[in-house]
Point group: C2
Chain length 373, copies 2
């Protein structure tokens, strides 16, 4: 049953076995030796220590180049199909850490074309969402002098010539094998992967020399980057290195926070009351009665509230372990954990929402080629 799940850029179903997925995709685990190496550059981010960013491609090569003075670009993105939730923010938070630690330039891509092609949305919808999502990205404090936001339909003049060169090297058979397209797939979907490849090669175009790139993102994006990496040498670009994270879990206990279950999803614009209500309904590892839980203890392994601390809200390992221990011993009850998490999320969101307002002033500065929102 471990194989009974599906992870593509557009669909995640079933219980994901991340080790099986890594083998399926052929990516490399981020092991202790790699984490030790990363520690030389700065304090290791909890998402690395905790195996949330857990797999990579050619990360060692990227660091070798960095050590030689060949500074990389960061590249990640977002498909703007709705409001930003914490699951979207998770890899961005990690990207911010990479930018701060390595002092590197960053490209953030908004694939408004993708979401138009794959969802029942207009280009107007996806453009508006790109703006709203960008505010959340900017609010995380990326360096405005070294970060550029690309919106596909706005910056297509820069992306299209690269996308064409990628397209010429990818056959329909390959796209079909990698993404599972069918006869009924629209021809925009089939071409789209070239637009996700393009920003990986843009730094080499900007710098006028082969420039390393690392893409920290959800492992569901690996199909795109398998294609990107396959075509890179033939186009004279370095293969982008990859840093893959697991999906941010849902409050309902599922593997992926998703807008398809709004009550199990914390949006960046949620009010304290909404957060309280959503966390209050979260799936936990508790027992049916207080008495039973006091006696038998809870199970943090399956608890969405614990996972939120693990993934995002408790960076202190000692405190996290204590939390798990107390749960297992029956010393704390689900209600207490929910109150504590609600408070942490609301503290985070209050500050984020203020920065999100400030972002409205900054976002234009980050627009690639100075496009107008």
């Amino acid at each position: 049953m471990a194989e009974d799940f599906k992870v593509t850029p557009w669909e995640v179903t079933g219980d994901i076995d991340y080790d099986v997925l890594m083998k399926r995709f052929g990516t490399t685990p981020i092991d202790e030796a790699m984490i030790k190496r990363i520690a030389k550059y700065g304090e290791v981010h909890p998402m690395l220590r905790r195996g949330i960013f857990y797999s990579h491609r050619d990360l060692g090569w990227l660091l070798d180049e960095y050590d030689k003075g060949n500074r990389f670009y960061l590249y990640t993105g977002r498909g703007p199909s709705g409001n930003t939730h914490l699951g979207h923010m998770m890899p961005w938070i990690f990207n911010k850490w990479v930018q701060d630690t390595f002092k590197v330039k960053m490209i953030f891509q908004m694939t408004d074309d993708e979401k138009f092609l794959f969802k029942d949305l207009t280009l107007h919808d996806t453009r508006d969402m790109a703006y709203e999502n960008a505010l959340d990205f900017v609010a995380l404090g990326f360096d405005p002098d070294n970060t550029k936001i690309i919106v596909d339909t706005e910056n297509i003049d820069r992306l299209y010539p690269i996308a064409l060169r990628v397209a010429k090297k990818v056959t329909f058979s390959t796209a079909k094998d990698v993404f599972g397209f069918e006869g009924s797939s629209n021809i925009g979907k089939i071409f789209f992967t070239t637009l996700e490849s393009a920003p990986a090669f843009l730094p080499s175009e900007i710098e006028g020399r082969p420039t390393p790139v690392v893409v920290p993102c959800g492992i569901d994006q690996d199909p795109h980057f398998r294609v990107t990496r396959d075509v890179a040498p033939g186009l004279g670009y370095p293969k982008p290195s990859m840093l893959y994270c697991k999906m941010c879990p849902s409050l309902n206990g599922g593997d992926k926070m998703s807008s398809s279950d709004e009550m199990a999803t914390i949006y960046t614009t949620d009010t304290p009351k909404q957060v309280k209500k959503k966390v209050g309904r979260a799936f936990t590892g508790g027992c049916v009665s207080v008495e039973e839980q006091r006696e038998k203890g809870g199970n943090p392994e399956v608890c969405a509230v614990f996972k939120y601390n693990y993934y995002l809200f408790e960076h202190d390992d000692a405190k996290l372990n204590e939390m798990a221990e107390k749960c297992r011993n029956g010393e704390i009850l689900c209600g207490e954990c929910k109150v504590a998490l609600t408070s942490k999320i609301n503290v985070f969101l209050e500050a984020h929402q203020a920065k999100r307002e400030e972002a409205k002033e900054i976002v234009q500065k980050m627009a690639f080629d100075g496009f107008k929102w």
Copy 2:
């Protein structure tokens, strides 16, 4: 054997039966009634009278709209894969007549992306060729105030949002059926048709209201426009009307002038000496000996030299008929016809080459959205 030919936007093989092709594509003949109607707007162009522009889609509707005051745009284009030859110029000459007769705006598209994707050429190659080809187009004297040249990679910002909307409505199965793509086709080829659709809808975008468009072009382009017309209503645009011409014959007697046989192809930059040499080698309908021809006469039906007069260089029907008659009677010999045609072509090219030089000053003014060459 009438079916033993193939006409696609990228390949023309076998002896084309244009009546069969019209039935195969489902287009409508331009009949006497239609030519009479066109005569109301001005002198009917020889290419219409002589059945070179011989088939259409919704031309009656276009004229109805014109009569109501709903002026159409002209749209045609060129895939810049090499130097311009007379076969490319033929439909442009007709477009110029349409612009002059109906006093309408025109969009001319350079599909440099297409030629990159379908040929062994770089984007740099196809861009350079787009410029060279544009000089020939401009030299024909299109109204600089009402004519805009689009180069796909330069004006992709305007075309891409329309192309995406087209792409969302075209499945791979449709593209495969219409164009014959295979698993080995690159994914750029599969997407490309959306870029040829986009300029048909651009006038409606520019004018802010549904705007009729007519596309006079080779009938080999019909597959693209079947797709374009199929998706138009769903996108809120009028279906473009079509005016289709036969392929310009080759000097070697074949159905299509093509750069694959350079000696049978007159380029716009050819010298008088080159033209003389090429016409001198042309396939004719003559007999093996002068004596035999004087006695039996020649066959203008199969003669490339006669066809060049018919298609391009003798607008006077009486003179053309006299030419055919004298050939059949053995009154004139192939050598004489060749000398006469060489002279006509060289007179045309001398003037054209001068206007082509002047075009270097004008072409920038016609660049859509003011891109730089």
